[in-house]
């Protein structure tokens, strides 16, 4: 009898393990934001006209950044509606996993929110027998600074103040630095609770790049995927940060714009030095991305963003995500589909869909180069 009971216990434990294991795996997979998805999904049904299915066939696997998940979902949906018989499967795990999968040759292309590192390019030469991995900028987007402060419904901050808030050097909402930027706003005497991402993230890295470019005196940390400052609280994923900001009075955090929209969180307007504070919108983010320079050599189109931009109406905290492919030497059985799919994604219609989902299209000049490169893939 004792034995039986022990076995039963063990079986229960095993069952619990299996269920939680499955849950863990699925939970990691999707940094989901269903609302933005639903918003975008409805409006984009007109985009199918621009799709050419020449040479596309079979199944195309792709993997990578969850930051572009919602955009990818829309593209895949429209593309598969137009090209019957083709199946595109984008696994939105993370940039790191995408690049690893790409360099192992298991996916047709990878999505990444930062350009390939030199050693990753080196590694990609094994898979792209005649060429190497290149970055194609496809999706841009603003990183919104969301806040929750009872009684305050609009807030202006500049880079040095933002840096000091996230570095916990400014700890009260009625601090003079914040009050000076928000004349006429009644700021309460509450502690500031800054939230950041607990896992490594391209969003963190982009915010770090912005802060060290626009406020080098206040933000002394290296821009890395890991959150560098010692203070503040952490939450997991953009959705985690957004729901903490939503729940906690006196909090401030950063996430992609679509999360602010879906959780109904007020975002901070950024004073860039142009005179008028800039709102976090797709349109304003596009203006900032327009100032980006292509720094990749050859066919590589890795971008360098100008985070310290003072251009009128340009929202400076932006994120650009890439699709990573081989310039030459792509696998023969997926090349047709990759070319056809990326041609659609970089087409006018493909880029227009992005605005609906809270992303920003890639500026026309750079996008023209992307199309040219996609056409020349082999």
């Amino acid at each position: 009898m004792k034995l039986q009971r022990k076995n039963r216990l063990r079986a229960t434990a095993l069952g619990a393990l299996a269920v939680s294991g499955a849950l863990v795996l699925t939970a990691c997979g999707s940094d989901d934001n269903s609302n933005a998805d639903a918003n975008g999904g409805g409006k984009s049904s007109t985009a199918a006209s621009d799709i050419t299915c020449d040479g596309a066939e079979g199944q195309l696997l792709a993997s990578g950044s969850s930051a572009q998940k919602n955009a990818m979902d829309l593209w895949v949906k429209n593309y598969m509606a137009a090209c019957s018989g083709v199946e595109v499967n984008y696994n939105s795990s993370s940039s790191g996993e995408g690049i690893v999968a790409f360099n192992q040759g298991t996916v047709g292309f990878a999505g990444s929110d930062s350009a390939l590192k030199p050693e990753e390019v080196e590694e990609s030469k094994k898979i792209c027998k005649t060429g190497q991995g290149i970055n194609l900028p496809m999706v841009g987007g603003p990183v919104a600074i969301g806040f929750h402060l009872e009684g305050v419904d609009s807030l202006v901050l500049d880079a040095p103040t933002l840096a000091k808030i996230f570095d916990t050097k400014i700890t009260k909402w009625n601090d003079k630095a914040i009050a000076d930027l928000n004349k006429g706003v009644e700021l309460p005497d509450k502690p500031i609770q800054p939230f950041h991402r607990s896992e490594d993230s391209g969003t963190t890295q982009n915010l770090g790049k912005y802060l060290s470019a626009a406020a080098p005196d206040a933000w002394k940390y290296e821009a890395e995927k890991k959150w560098p400052a010692p203070g503040g609280q952490a939450a997991s994923g953009s959705s985690g940060v957004a729901s903490q900001v939503k729940a906690v009075d006196g909090s401030i955090g950063y996430f992609e714009l679509s999360y602010a929209a879906s959780q109904d969180i007020t975002t901070v307007d950024i004073e860039t030095g142009s005179g008028t504070p800039v709102k976090a919108t797709s349109e304003n983010a596009s203006k900032a991305i327009a100032a980006a320079k292509v720094v990749g050599t050859g066919k590589d189109l890795a971008l360098e963003l100008d985070y310290a931009t003072k251009a009128e109406g340009a929202y400076p905290i932006v994120l650009v995500t890439y699709e990573v492919v081989c310039d030459t030497g792509n696998k023969a059985d997926t090349l047709g589909t990759v070319k056809s799919f990326l041609t659609y994604a970089s087409s006018e219609d493909g880029q227009k869909v992005l605005t609906d989902a809270g992303y920003a299209p890639i500026p026309a000049e750079i996008n023209a180069k992307v199309r040219e490169t996609v056409a020349g893939l082999s």
């Binding site: 009898m1 004792k2 009971r5 216990l9 229960t12 434990a13 069952g15 619990a16 269920v19 939680s20 849950l23 863990v24 939970a27 990691c28 795990s93 993370s94 940039s95 790191g96 996993e97 690049i99 690893v100 502690p191 609770q193 607990s198 896992e199 490594d200 993230s201 290296e222 890395e224 995927k225 890991k226 010692p230 503040g232 609280q233 952490a234 939450a235 997991s236 903490q244 729940a247 906690v248």
Partner: protein, 330 residues
Amino acid sequence: MASTTSLDTPPAPPAPRDRPRSTGRVGDKIFIGLSRGSGILLLVVMASIAVFLGYRAATAISENEGNFLTTFDWNPAGDPPVFGIAVLLFGTVVSSVIAMVIAVPIAVGIALFISHYAPRKLAAPLGYVIDLLAAVPSIVYGIWGALVLVPYLEGLNLWLDQFFGWTYVFDKTAIGVPRSLFTVGILLAIMILPIVTSVTREVFLQVPKMNEEAALALGATRWEVVRLSVLPFGRSGIISASMLGLGRALGETMAVATVLSPSFLISLHVLNHGGGTFAQNIAAKFGEADEFGRDALIASGLVLFVLTLLVNGAARLIIARRKEYSGANA
């Protein structure tokens, strides 16, 4: 079930004796081959896993610029890579200790109630309900913890800070919601409650009826029976049950990752957010980690493995030392 154990002595540990001889018939030979083969296969699989993990951990540690044991940082993607397990070790131990301090007395109480106080009709369903808690997936505990427990604990934290702030441990110095090691400890306590309770209850049911009846015959109250015969008999069982629970608390992943606000700082102020545990850190960092980062995480996982091994070893030592007093070999 086991409560029917009547006057006979409790099961003694099997005495060393000669193996039964093989009869030399075919069935025996096949069976010997099968069982020996499975035994060897298991060892080979375990050994190859250990070699694989050890090799990858060694690659990571050899390139680590920080001190693997004392560095307060986790940045294997940096240039140079710097990572250390000090914070994780501290957080894992502290959260598990908090969980044990809360869970073990409650579990022993529930087990005593079920085995010695509750009417038979109530005892069985109560036991099933407690066991059922073990079947709830940890992510559910995590979500419950983040949405219900964390806001609810805000009051308790303020109360502890106000009246027990002088203890240093309960001095709350950082502002913010209680996504702290203390909250994690409470959540872990709830999660390990069923395993500790059910094992302890089984042990209490094994107490020889003769001992209890003898105590009763001498005029002992029910509490005295528990104190004089049940608890001494069950002590080693309580310890092994606690160690089983501790093992679970040390390795808990998703619930901790959901509730804790991690940071790479060591602080004895358990009400402040911050800290981290091995499993939580692996769950949080694995997705975005590159090849080298994963090696580093594997290295940290090996430390957790060693920690669990030490805990289990210590438990066996304690049990072995106490065996003669417990009546387990009477």
